[in-house]
């Protein structure tokens, strides 16, 4: 016979909980900026399982509809869930078939609503999202965090990118970068992240979105340089150390 006391609800019981407590397979930073023709976004292809760099071919950027590009860091499975929501959204939008389509601003706001609502239920989607796109000549670049904080800017980054990449972008970004300049700038940011972020892998993709559409590059690696004299004989001054 059930006691009159109710069972502890799902929120109170961590072992039997259905809500997100910790992320498991995570992606690291995404960096994006506005340039002359649209938005450029870069993300590496690593999925870390804790401190292990377990998966090395995870695509963390996906096109959404005709006008937007979504990049995510954080829990990969939650990103995949979000892609399913967005798939449905875009499907319904296309089914109207009436000359109206969801632009990046609309998708960004929809994502903000979703993230914020989940956070309110103590069951967040453990992601930091970057949403960029171009519609009718208007460029749009925004970010949503897992607690529903959202904003728009000329250049955004998630995770470690906020600390390592954004200072570079603040100094060197300007209006109307050409495609080559923008790629160089992004690669500079990604190289710093590769050197300094322990969960970064040297296999990245750069995605471009313009009025014409989305292009996601093939994965490639950045050139790195380790031939510093200080690395030559690291234990020179201290035998036995490493």
């Amino acid at each position: 016979m059930e006691s009159t006391q109710s069972k502890p609800g799902p929120l109170c019981n961590p072992e039997g909980s259905q809500r997100t407590l910790y992320p498991y397979v995570t992606g690291t930073s995404v960096v994006a900026l506005k340039y002359k023709d649209g938005i450029l976004m870069a993300a590496d292809m690593g999925g870390s399982y804790g401190s292990t760099l377990r998966y090395k071919s995870v695509e963390r950027m996906k096109p959404i509809g005709k006008h937007s590009l979504l990049g995510a860091s954080g829990e990969i499975s939650d990103f995949q869930e979000l892609l399913r929501y967005l798939d449905e959204l875009v499907l319904y939008d296309n089914m109207w078939d009436d000359g109206n389509s969801l632009g990046p601003k609309e998708v960004h706001n929809y994502l903000t609503r979703v993230m914020y609502n989940r956070r309110n239920k103590f069951n967040p989607l453990w992601n930091s999202l970057v949403l960029g796109g171009v519609k009718n000549g208007q460029k749009y670049l925004g970010m949503v965090s897992m607690i529903g904080v959202n904003f728009e800017d000329n250049h955004v980054a998630t995770g470690f990118g906020n600390h390592l990449a954004r200072p570079i972008l603040r100094d060197e970004w300007h209006e109307n970068l050409t495609f080559e300049e923008a790629v160089k700038l992004l690669e500079k940011c990604m190289r710093v992240l590769l050197y300094r972020d322990r969960s970064a892998v040297n296999k990245l993709q750069i995605a471009k979105i313009t009025e014409e559409g989305v292009t996601i590059s093939q994965p490639y690696s950045l050139k790195t340089f380790w031939g510093f004299s200080a690395f030559e004989n690291p234990t020179l001054g201290a035998e036995g150390s490493w």
Binding site: W96, D98, N100, E106, N109
Partner: protein, 391 residues
């Protein structure tokens, strides 16, 4: 009988007559197909109707009966120009009787029959009478007119107060900054639907931070109306909605029927005596796409005046609302409207003898550069010596 709207006496005679469906052409194309087929067949299927027809017309209304029995009122006017709706003096003499005739002529004559009790009953001829009666309710409401250009939509309506002591019914509602609606028919139903529209627009804006495209709102409305035609415990909404708004692809004007249909229009009019406005709009609509905002408003006012049939157009009896690119939906205040009315009424007074023009581009020569609207004004002016307009 249910009084439909406070503006008209509820003079609801439902008599079937042969062919008064021509005015349906603009409003419900699909219905007219059904009606053409059954016009003959129904004589045999509805025996009750025959019984009613045998009723002797009362002596005072013999002329009325004869007229009713004849063809559509449009043809009638060609044969008998003195009875033309545009001959004002004639009309004023037979004021009361004319009003009644007008109502009946506007209405599709329908009989009470055994299939019209609820909306989920089909008649053997394939008609849903309750839905059709709901469309009748729209025709009983006072007129509402809409027109659009490439960048603007103007909604106008006739607002008559019940008495001098009361205020008039609100018939134009703002749904969002970029959408507005004018209603005709049961205003209570109209208010409820406006509230629904506002709620949809706000919800969309909250989720997507972007204005709801009019086309989508109109489809949602139509689906909502359709539900009421397929539930036995509901009744159709007795209100016709002229929805005007802007979206990515420009300015749009839609008409939502109680039946759940919706149509897009360049210009349209609904409600009582809307035929006069429709006739005016039909002559002029080709110019609307490129019209300026001012011309569009003027055309709306003139079309409104057509429905008044002789009564002087004053800003106290009409309401105008505008929405356009860079201009959120708003209702023009009375002073502005009165000034606009005065502006084109003055033009007419100065050129009383000009011939009316039945063509698309009336004689602008008679006017002082007032534009193409002026010539059309002439035809509507209550001048006894002016020949009636061809329709």
């Amino acid at each position: 009988m249910t009084p439909i709207s406070p503006h008209k006496p509820a003079h609801f005679c439902l008599h079937q007559s042969s062919l008064s469906y021509s005015h349906l052409t603009l409003s419900s194309p699909f219905l007219i197909l059904a009606y053409d087929k059954i016009a003959v067949a129904s004589h045999h299927l509805e025996p009750m109707r025959k019984g009613k027809r045998k009723k002797k017309p009362s002596p005072g209304s013999s002329q009325r009966e004869r007229e009713r029995e004849s063809q559509s009122h449009l043809l009638e006017q060609k044969e008998n120009p003195n009875k033309n709706r545009h001959s004002f003096t004639e009309r004023e003499r037979h004021c009361d009787f004319f009003l009644e005739r007008e109502t009946k002529n506007d209405a599709v004559k329908m009989f009470r029959n055994q299939y019209d009790t609820d909306v989920t009953t089909w008649s053997p001829a394939g008609r849903l009478f309750q839905v059709e009666y709901a469309m009748e309710a729209v025709k009983q409401g006072s007129a509402a007119i809409g027109l659009r250009s490439k960048t603007h939509v103007v909604l106008a309506c006739v607002n008559k107060a019940n008495s001098e002591l009361s205020s008039h019914q609100k018939k134009i509602f703002k749904v969002d900054d970029h959408i507005g609606v004018a209603i005709a028919g049961l205003t209570a139903d109209g208010r409820v639907l406006s509230r629904y529209m506002r709620s949809e627009a706000i919800n969309y804006n909250y989720t997507y931070e972007s204005p709801l495209p009019v086309g989508r709102l109109v489809v949602q409305l139509a689906d909502k109306a359709q539900v009421c035609t397929q539930r036995s415990w509901k009744r159709p909404y007795g209100v016709g909605l002229l929805v005007g708004g802007l979206d990515e692809s420009g300015a749009h004007l839609y008409y939502n029927c109680p039946s759940g249909n919706y149509f897009e229009y360049q210009a349209f009019a609904i409600g009582s005596r809307s035929q006069a406005a429709k006739t005016y709009l039909e002559r002029r609509f080709e110019n609307f796409t490129g019209s300026t905002r001012e011309d569009l408003i003027k055309d709306a006012l003139i079309a409104t005046r057509e429905t008044l049939q002789g009564e002087k157009l004053r800003s106290s009896i009409c309401t105008i609302a505008v929405v356009g690119v860079g201009e959120p939906f708003h209702i023009l205040d009375q002073d502005t409207v009165q000034k606009l009315i005065d502006a084109f009424e003055i033009v007419q007074d100065e050129a009383p003898a000009a011939e009316p023009d039945a063509g698309a581009e009336p004689a602008a020569a008679a006017e002082e550069g007032e534009g193409s609207g002026a010539g059309a004004d002439q035809a509507a002016v209550p001048e006894p010596d002016v020949a009636p307009m061809d329709i």
